[in-house]
């Protein structure tokens, strides 16, 4: 990954390094050997935070598996056993379940950071793809993990989400065959639970593999920075260690405080009470909602009246991120110098949060009451149209025609200018 001029002074370490140069690899990737732009702000903390959360999820997950039984007759009880009987089981489970939410918050900020500062632009497109692959794997992992407690939301969430794949019904019986293959039966049942368990254990390690590729791809061009200009001379860069290891550690300690507040004081705020009722295939809860991190896409699904087109729109709303590097035609990366782009970016963010909010509502719930009233479905349709218009109309046009602000010649120059002004 990082090319390194690591020269160990200790003889034993040098002996080992000559035979397996792994310490040099770490030194060049996450140590002093990695030269980083000097102007990274706190939005650049979220990559290492995401890495931290991946480790937390894997450790707590492995521990939970030691006490869990993936069987429809025992899964629900096993979770209660973890909560009540296992020493610190409640802590492991609450850390794992809230950890999933934290992981998604961090990754969303990380993605939005990349969008705002143009980190997806050339030459970092493959880095961006790998990040999106990690995100898709996280979605699959999170979904299957939510099924394991075998509560009502687990069961019905699994039913609704797996049924999405039945929309690919291009010849008679095709949709049904896909579903039987996914379920291992005629409905979500024990075979489904067992395969989800197997995959939920596997996918995090696949994520680890893609994270390594993600870091590898990062270290060829190096980190982007808030100015979006390439770091050139040695005056533009500082070693990752100790500067950013210290900054990341400071951010991490702040994050852990917030994480702890959720684990110890609000452990169920992200969950749904119906999931403390054991799964029952005869009764659908009156209101099925996915976990919060899927809600914007769920609204897009509900906004389209046709089943297949709805599913395509939902998957499309995520896959469209893959073409963002080409939709954006700007020569300048950072939205700092692109005022119109910045404005629409914030509008996009607000709209996406609003889509998520609508995801919790029933389609015919009245949202705005003025005379006739506008229901959640209508608002969801308007918001969904804006979501796609942002990618397909606003970004391509604005990035090509907007008047940009002057870009500094180098990172060092911009720091010096700021000092003069200050």
């Amino acid at each position: 990954m990082g090319s390194s001029n690591y020269e160990p002074t200790n003889k034993a370490v040098k002996w080992f390094e000559d035979r397996l140069p792994i310490l040099g690899l770490i030194h060049g990737t996450l140590g002093a050997g990695y030269k980083t732009p000097r102007n990274l702000n706190y939005w650049w903390n979220f990559g290492s935070l995401a890495g931290f959360m991946l480790v937390v999820q894997i450790i707590t997950g492995i521990i939970l598996v030691m006490h869990y039984t993936p069987h429809v007759d025992m899964a629900f009880r096993a979770v209660e056993h973890i909560m009540r009987d296992v020493n610190y089981g409640w802590l492991m489970r609450y850390t794992h379940s809230n950890g999933a939410s934290m992981f998604f918050v961090i990754v969303y900020v990380h993605i939005l950071r990349g969008m705002y500062f143009g980190s997806y632009q050339s030459p970092r497109e493959v880095l961006w793809f790998l990040g999106l692959v990690i995100y898709l794997l996280m979605m699959a992992t999170g979904f299957m993990g939510y099924v394991l407690p075998w509560g009502q939301m687990s069961f019905w969430g699994a039913t609704v989400i797996t049924n999405l794949f039945g929309a690919f019904d291009f010849y008679d019986g095709m949709g049904e065959s896909i579903l039987h293959l996914l379920w291992g039966g005629f409905s979500v049942d024990n075979p489904t639970l067992q395969r989800f368990f197997s995959l939920h254990y596997l996918l995090p390690f696949v994520i680890v593999g893609v994270v390594i590729l993600h870091i590898w791809a990062l270290h060829l061009p190096g980190s982007n920075n808030p100015l979006g200009i390439d770091a050139k001379g040695p005056g533009d860069k500082i070693p990752f260690h100790p500067y950013y290891t210290a900054k990341d550690a400071f951010g991490l300690s702040f994050f852990i405080v917030i994480f702890a507040v959720f684990i110890f004081y609000l452990p169920n705020i992200m969950g749904h009470p119906d999931n403390y009722i054991e799964a029952n295939p005869m009764v659908t809860p009156s209101h099925i909602v996915p976990e919060w991190y899927y809600l914007p896409f769920y609204t897009i699904l509900k906004a389209v009246p046709d089943k297949l087109l709805g599913v395509i729109a939902m998957f499309g709303s995520i896959l469209i991120f893959f073409v963002l590097p080409w939709l954006d035609g700007s020569k300048i990366r950072s939205a700092k110098f692109r005022p119109t782009t910045a404005f629409f970016f914030w509008l996009f963010l607000v709209n996406t949060i609003f889509l998520g909010y609508l995801g919790t509502k029933l389609p015919d719930e009245i949202m705005i009451n003025m005379g006739g009233g506008i229901d959640a479905l209508t608002l969801g349709r308007i918001s969904s149209v804006f979501y796609f218009a942002y990618f397909l109309v606003i970004v391509p046009l604005v990035s090509r025609f907007e008047t940009t602000r002057p870009v500094p010649t180098s990172i060092a120059q911009s720091v010096l200018d700021a000092r003069k002004e200050g």
Binding site: W156, T159, V160, T162, N163, L164, G166, H180, L181, L182, W183, G184, G185, F186, S187, V188, D189, P191, R195, P281, M282, V283, T284, P285, S286, H287, I288, K302, P305, D306, K307, G310, L362, P363, D364
Partner: protein, 176 residues
């Protein structure tokens, strides 16, 4: 050997070309046949397939009531329809529908409606005697079904599916 090289140079089919293609094809067939069990193990297993049928005595269901039974992990609705309900189903036969079908084709005997109680949208269980058409209403995404289980409003693409069933006597059916 020299003659062989010359032949290859002229892009004619040689024994070596044949061996390349033949071993490639055999390899591809081998990989596919090895991969198939890895995929097919995900399909319903023999014990799941064995639970394929149930017998139901419907004589205990009073008129105007629906019972739910579990078949292949899915709920089956059996509704003992009243004369009024049957009349309504027949009267609405020509109303606009997404998946048009006559009321008489929905049940072997009009008073016993046997359906799979799974919404054809995304698989929730619709609620009995709710919605705008006097039949079923799916709470998940708002699909309305009428008294013959036909989709009338909302995102579901099809009428509630009908299982295969046969009458063993006047009031007993075997489903599956």
């Amino acid at each position: 050997m020299t003659t062989n090289d010359q032949v290859e140079h002229d892009e004619e089919v040689t024994r070596r070309n044949f061996l390349y293609v033949a071993s490639g094809v055999v390899g591809a067939v081998g990989v596919t046949s090895a991969a198939w069990p890895l995929v097919d193990q995900m399909n319903p297993s023999a014990d799941v397939l064995a639970l394929a049928s149930v017998e139901v005595d419907m004589s205990t269901i009073p008129e105007g009531q629906t019972v739910k039974i579990l078949w292949r992990g899915k709920p089956i609705f059996i509704r003992h329809r009243t004369a009024k309900e049957i009349a309504r189903g027949v009267a609405e036969d020509n109303d606009p529908m997404k998946d048009p079908v006559m009321d008489k084709d929905r049940a072997q005997k009009p008073e016993w409606l046997v359906m799979i109680g799974v919404c054809t949208h995304l698989g929730c269980v619709p609620l009995d005697q709710r919605g705008d058409f006097g039949g079923w209403f799916c709470p998940c995404h708002g699909s309305h079904y009428d008294i013959a289980g036909r989709i009338r409003k909302g995102p579901a693409p099809r009428n509630l599916d009908l299982p295969k069933y046969v009458y063993l006597n006047d009031t007993t059916v075997k489903i599956g």
